[in-house]
């Protein structure tokens, strides 16, 4: 069974008091908390295992290398892919930049790159820069009036406009809305377009089987999956991944170097120049093991129960507008109260110990579409409870009273 009390006890930060009140953490879409095992692994690495990887034949280095590569295997297992199809980066943002840069020589002037209107800025700006560099064109995929990527319409749109690259999110960070990827990826295959999926939000909540999803690239951030900050990565279908231009060059990523020329290693090494975030990678294994130790169906069921309860309770407050879809949602709820500024609400909620995020959430195109400057976003994770929702609702009512 899904033992929520035990799970909460595994996350030391959740025991904190904020402004003299128990912390109610509803900002996991920004970053998730870390179980004790991840924190311990970080400390243990630096106190007992620290060494550089892939070089040096001493015992410490061998052990560090083994654990570093073992982490790749764990993650490969999590995503149901091969280890050599996973590249470590410093986060989903760097992963998208790596892909966008690496695709440069595969595109030519006049080619099209498609994104959706609900993307995070990290899945917009690198593509804008790419098309600018090569004189290609950025096109925008259709979304529904509920701000969901419209899978059927997108599939038609893709087959009609024939973009070379399609970059879309698996779930919106602002809204939580989940994309129905299958028809879109099928359309990409039909026209040989490269599919890039932003999994920053979905990777923890949906435990995606990437073989089944069958996309070309999938990016993620470790810190949104119970892991340390400063680490993320990407999956790339091996032949395609290996054929990308190197993003950064230098040590570690080479086979041989003379003063005039170098040969690069195969993927993933080719994309991991310099000393990587070894401690982060090794500690991330603990996060992956923690996640996989939980029964996925039970975890999703728990998340769904808490999310649905939050939607129900929020909807019952007069004057609240919810922008997120009420089903097919990873657990992010964007809302506003009447015309109040989200900053004011979030500040007051913080006074009650409730941590939410306010603002445009790096999705200004969504805000333009809704003609608002921002939202309050409450985002849930596996360690949240109905009690957290109750605390949010009470704090919200008290905050509204202060504003009215």
């Amino acid at each position: 069974m899904f033992d929520i009390a035990k799970i909460r006890a595994d996350f030391p930060l959740l025991k904190q008091q904020i402004n003299g009140q128990p912390l109610v953490y509803l900002d996991s879409a920004a970053t998730s908390h870390k179980p004790q095992a991840v924190i311990d692994a970080l400390t243990h690495f630096y106190s007992a295992e620290n060494a550089n990887v892939h070089r040096g034949r001493h015992t410490l280095s061998d052990n560090a290398t083994r654990k570093y590569e073992q982490a790749r295997k764990s993650l490969a297992n999590y995503f149901q892919v091969e280890s050599n199809e996973l590249v470590w980066t410093k986060g989903a943002t760097e992963s998208i930049n790596l892909i966008a840069n690496g695709l440069t020589s595969k595109l030519k002037a006049g080619d099209k790159v498609a994104i959706s209107a609900i993307e995070h800025h990290a899945n917009i700006v690198p593509w804008q820069q790419l098309v600018k560099r090569i004189g290609a064109e950025l096109i925008v995929l259709p979304i529904t009036s509920d701000l969901v990527i419209d899978a059927q319409q997108c599939a038609e749109f893709i087959e009609q406009h024939k973009p070379k690259v399609v970059a879309i999110t698996h779930a919106s960070n602002t809204l939580g809305n989940i994309t129905d990827l299958a028809p879109i990826i099928q359309a990409c295959k039909n026209i040989n377009a490269i599919s890039v999926i932003d999994g920053a939000q979905a990777a923890m909540h949906l435990r995606p089987n990437l073989r089944e999803i069958d996309c070309d690239f999938y990016v993620f951030s470790a810190h949104k999956m119970l892991g340390p900050t400063g680490l993320g990565g990407l999956y790339g279908r091996f032949e395609l991944l290996n054929s990308l231009d190197a993003y950064q060059t230098g040590g570690e990523m080479i086979e041989t170097v003379s003063l005039t020329q170098s040969n690069f290693r195969e993927a993933p090494g080719k994309f991991e120049a310099g000393t990587p975030n070894i401690a982060g990678v090794i500690a991330f294994t603990e996060a992956i093991e923690y996640l996989t130790s939980l029964n996925f169906q039970q975890m999703r069921q728990h998340e769904h129960t808490v999310f649905s309860y939050a939607i129900k309770q929020l909807s019952a407050i007069d004057g609240i507008t919810i922008y997120s879809q009420h089903h097919n949602n990873i657990g992010n709820i964007s809302f506003n109260y009447k015309n109040e500024h989200p900053f004011d609400l979030a500040t007051l909620l913080d006074g009650f110990g409730v941590a939410v995020r306010s603002g445009h959430h790096c999705t200004q195109p969504i805000m333009s579409q809704l003609s608002i400057s921002g939202t309050v976003r409450a985002s849930f994770a596996l360690y949240n409870t109905k009690e957290d929702v109750d605390a949010l609702i009470t704090a919200l009512k008290n905050s509204i009273e202060l504003l009215d």
Binding site: N19, E340, H341, F343, D344, T347, L348, G351, S358, G359, S373, G374, N398, L402, L403
Partner: protein
């Protein structure tokens, strides 16, 4: 300390608990004179804020004093802005440079709002006023 500031902060100091403190701050914001739309130019927008904050700074040469006006689209920042205006408005540059807004906000238990991570632009506003005062001194 100048009296307009003392007058407006009395209720904040006497507030029982943080809710009352915020209520007083938002009330101050409500009472802030309306900023003429003509002054809400891009130049007056304080950069790096989650909320929109305008701060208009002028210098009255005959009176040798700072002339300030401001507005914000959020209630809390507008209230904090009202505090800053009460702190600096009408002062000579000499007087203004002697004011430590940090100390004043600390005394009122509002120092967290001056920290850069809040992104509400209070610190940026104070810096902007101080720069003007330095320049005119």
């Amino acid at each position: 300390m100048n009296s307009p500031f003392q007058a407006v902060t009395k209720d904040i100091e006497n507030a029982a608990g943080w809710q009352q403190k915020y209520r007083q701050i938002m009330l101050l914001g409500k009472q802030l004179p309306v900023m003429p739309e003509a002054l809400k130019v891009d130049d007056a927008l304080v950069k790096g804020c989650e909320s929109k904050v305008w701060l208009y700074i002028d210098f009255d040469h005959t009176e040798n004093s700072l002339v300030l006006a401001g507005d914000s689209d959020t209630r809390i920042v507008k209230g904090l802005l009202a505090l800053i205006l009460a702190l600096y408005n009408g002062l000579t540059p000499q007087q203004a440079t002697q004011i430590n807004a940090y100390d004043e906000f600390e005394r009122l238990g509002l120092i967290s709002h001056l920290s850069p991570s809040r992104g509400n632009g209070i610190k940026a506003m104070v810096d902007k006023i101080q720069a003007m005062a330095e320049q005119k001194r």
